[in-house]
Amino acid sequence: MPDRKQISPFGSTLRRELARMKSRPMYFILTVGIMSFCIIFFISLFNEGQLLKMPIGIVDHDNSKISRQFVRNLNATQQAKIAMKLGSYQEARTEMQKGNIYAFVEIKSGFAENLQANRRPPLTFYINDAYLTAGSLLLKDITAMSLLTSGGVQQQILSAKGIDESLISGIIQPIAVDTHMIGNPWSNYSYYFLNVFFPGVLEFVILMTTVFVIGIELKEKTSRKWLRTADNNFIIALFGKLLPYTAMFIVWGFVCNIILYGFLYFPVQASIFRMLLATVLYVIACQCVGILIIGILPVLRDSVSIVMIFGMFGFTFTGFTFPIEQMNYPVRIFSEMYPIRHFFNIYTDQVVHGVDFRYSVVYYFILLAYTLLPFLIFFRLKKAAIYQNYPIK
């Protein structure tokens, strides 16, 4: 019976792999430990979602009613918290260099007096942009607050001049901007980071696991046994070996999606099933890249080094921190090699923008096309498994 014969080698390969998984703690850490650690770490790190109440300093030489009012207003904003009141510019700069404050506002002496005398006293604020995230948020916050203060003064003057109430808002702010942030209206950092970090770590772990589980057979010279269990059929051997991991990582991918969109209620514009489909394809695509890497270099330690170099750039090449289109041309081409790049495109389309399915169909097909990669090195890897002709060290 050819049918029965085909099932049994697959089953025995599967069984052999499960036994191997139990044999060393390393497998457990790889498949379960890393992902659970990362999920707990990132969710608890970004649980605020937004950067709130970042420490800033005040150098108030004026100490008038107006300046104190300004300081109070500033303290009441969402992002800034006045952590210290400082005596001089020099002192404030030292505190900034120590990293205790991310910005400070200097109010010169005679501020209130000059304001009342119509002498336009300037307000100076210093932002530390070596911490870009904190710096740019504080810049936005403090600018808004100083414009608001300025607006309050304008309103007082205009009312005092007897100008009609209906005209005042037109004079203070002739053009108002209505900002719509598509998909993330609160500019929430956890939406922004977690949606990319989870697949990013997943890619990393999948690549490592795939390379490791195949490479260790070659290193420990057990690959012939592995083949023999699969009845010398290399396709069955590969499937039987990798299927437990495929299942496991798909489950992890689903867990991430469910945590993000089900429990944390991250905004998702389109149907979550499109993301689940993308996750399945993504996991398989990553595994295929892993097979390609170990196939090109059937030496465990070399392919681990390659994964180290390749995988570390994965986060960079999603283009969520610094957009890909703004990078150099060779870098842009290189980024297309990463499954996460295409997954990120699907995510942008479906979760952030909520566009029609047809816009991202091409990315689903690209992810699917990754399954062709193992065929490039199929015979090479098979030979390596049979002849074990590569250095093991």
């Binding site: 770490f41 336009r120 307000l123 004079i171 002739p174 053009i175 900002t179 598509i182 952030v352 816009y359």
Partner: protein, 437 residues
């Protein structure tokens, strides 16, 4: 008499220990140089990573982010406004659409990353002295798109507003200096320090440089330890050939080898790279060298402690590569330290990279001196001490295990000699142990 004896003895021990430390140092140097994998990590990765990352992030800021506009006002004023926006560095208008629906279609294909919508009553409202509104829609898939669109439009609109304000005040009979006063009673001056172009590379790269040093050291030392355990008899970390020389001499000899190598490498990574790629480098080099000493030692001892748990050559890299990402976030460079939960802050404190990044960024990018980074500096020395202690303990434990195994082997071998009476069989024993794990 006794004093002299003790003195000579002390001198003898000292010279011996220095000699032996030096011999271990030389031996370790040889191991590092002959191991291809370690060379790849220590030298090639350390050389290539900074260059690769710096060239990826070479464009510090976004330039000409494509946007679509929907100008339903069709007025001279709206056209002028759009021209100014198009001329700004951050944004480039690539599509002119007639309706929001049309703009959305372009947006969906991701040819643009933002839409500027000017309603039909824009001009008439401005002429009538009312408040006109203008809407912008941003792509939030990357926060930098949002930043680019928002900064360019808000600066230009503020500029235009001033003009309109003056016109309106003139119409109300407020002119000249008085109008200026009313239009802008409190002029503000935003001074961006330490990264004045708000560049992405200037912000991230200094932290990454420290991470490269930390991680390559960690993986390299882990690989050396794993290899030693694969190759040595009985899979021990320290072969009996060396451990007779004493535990401190081993640790000093080995760590000195890594230190010398990385001290030299750091001139390239921390000194040369920021100058070549024009990253911030306003710090005093002497302060950086001061910082480097505890940072490297802390990292080396930290890595040596953990390397004792690696049974195989690749274990460290396979299991802990993902940790580089975690370390970047723990360092508090992108997510401010003050906003990290106390538990994670304490967790992050344990890693030399956290202190290293904070201190290096403060010195190198912000021009601080060692006095301003005293917290990090002292923390690094504490870490050096603690990790030195843990290294000693783990090495001691390893050597003791080694001795026990050696003893077992001796007894077993003895038995075998007694029973089979064939002393050459002894060597098979080692082979058995090797195939076991």
């Amino acid at each position: 008499m006794k004093k002299i004896y003790l003195k000579t003895r002390f001198r003898h021990t000292l010279t011996l220990s220095i000699k032996e430390s030096f011999s271990i140092f030389m031996q370790e140097c040889k191991t590092v140089c002959t191991d291809k994998g370690v060379i790849i990590i220590f030298l090639i990765a350390s050389f290539m990573y900074p260059i690769l990352y710096c060239s990826i992030y070479k464009n510090e800021v976004l330039v000409d982010v494509p946007v679509a506009v929907v100008d339903q006002s069709h007025s001279k004023r709206s056209a002028a406004l759009l021209r100014q926006i198009d001329a700004s560095r951050d944004v480039k208008i690539t599509y002119h659409c007639t309706s929001l629906q049309e703009a959305r279609k372009v947006f969906n294909t991701r040819k643009v990353h933002g839409v500027i919508f000017i309603p039909s009553d824009f001009d008439s409202k401005i002429v009538a002295g009312q408040q006109a509104t203008l809407a912008i829609y941003c792509d939030m898939s990357s926060f930098l798109y949002y930043k680019a669109l928002l900064t360019s439009t808000s600066y230009i609109i503020l500029d235009n507003s001033k003009q309109i304000k003056t016109e309106r005040l003139n119409a109300q009979g407020i002119t000249g200096e008085a109008a200026k006063m009313v239009a802008d009673p409190i002029p503000y001056d935003d001074i961006i320090l330490y990264n004045s172009s708000m560049g992405f590379a200037s912000f991230l790269m200094p932290a990454l440089l420290i991470i490269f040093i930390h991680q390559t050291l960690f993986f390299g030392i882990g690989m050396l330890a794993g290899t030693a355990r694969e190759e040595n008899r009985f899979h021990v970390l320290v072969s009996s050939k060396i451990h007779r020389m004493g535990i401190y001499r081993i640790i000093w000899g080995k760590s000195l080898c890594y230190f010398v190598l990385y001290f030299a490498l750091s001139f390239y990574t921390l000194g040369l790279i920021p100058r070549i790629y024009n990253l911030p480098h306003i710090g005093n080099p002497v302060d950086i060298v001061y910082l480097l000493i505890p940072f490297l030692f802390a990292t080396i001892f930290f890595s040596m402690t953990f390397s004792t748990f690696f049974r195989n050559r690749e274990t460290g890299m396979v299991l802990f590569l993902f940790f580089s990402l975690i370390l970047i976030f723990l360092s508090g460079i992108s997510w401010p330290l003050k906003n990290i939960h106390g538990f994670w802050r304490a967790f992050g404190w344990m890693f030399p990279s956290t202190q290293g990044i904070q201190a290096y960024v403060k010195i190198n990018s912000m021009g601080a001196t060692i006095r301003e980074v005293s917290f990090e500096y002292i923390s690094l020395w504490i870490q050096t001490g603690v990790y030195f202690l843990t290294t000693t303990l783990t090495y001691y434990w390893q050597i003791k295990k080694n001795k026990i195994r050696f003893r077992i082997r001796q007894i077993k071998g003895h038995k075998r000699v007694l029973t089979i009476n064939n002393p050459t069989k002894q060597s098979d024993n080692t082979a058995d142990y090797k195939s076991e794990s």
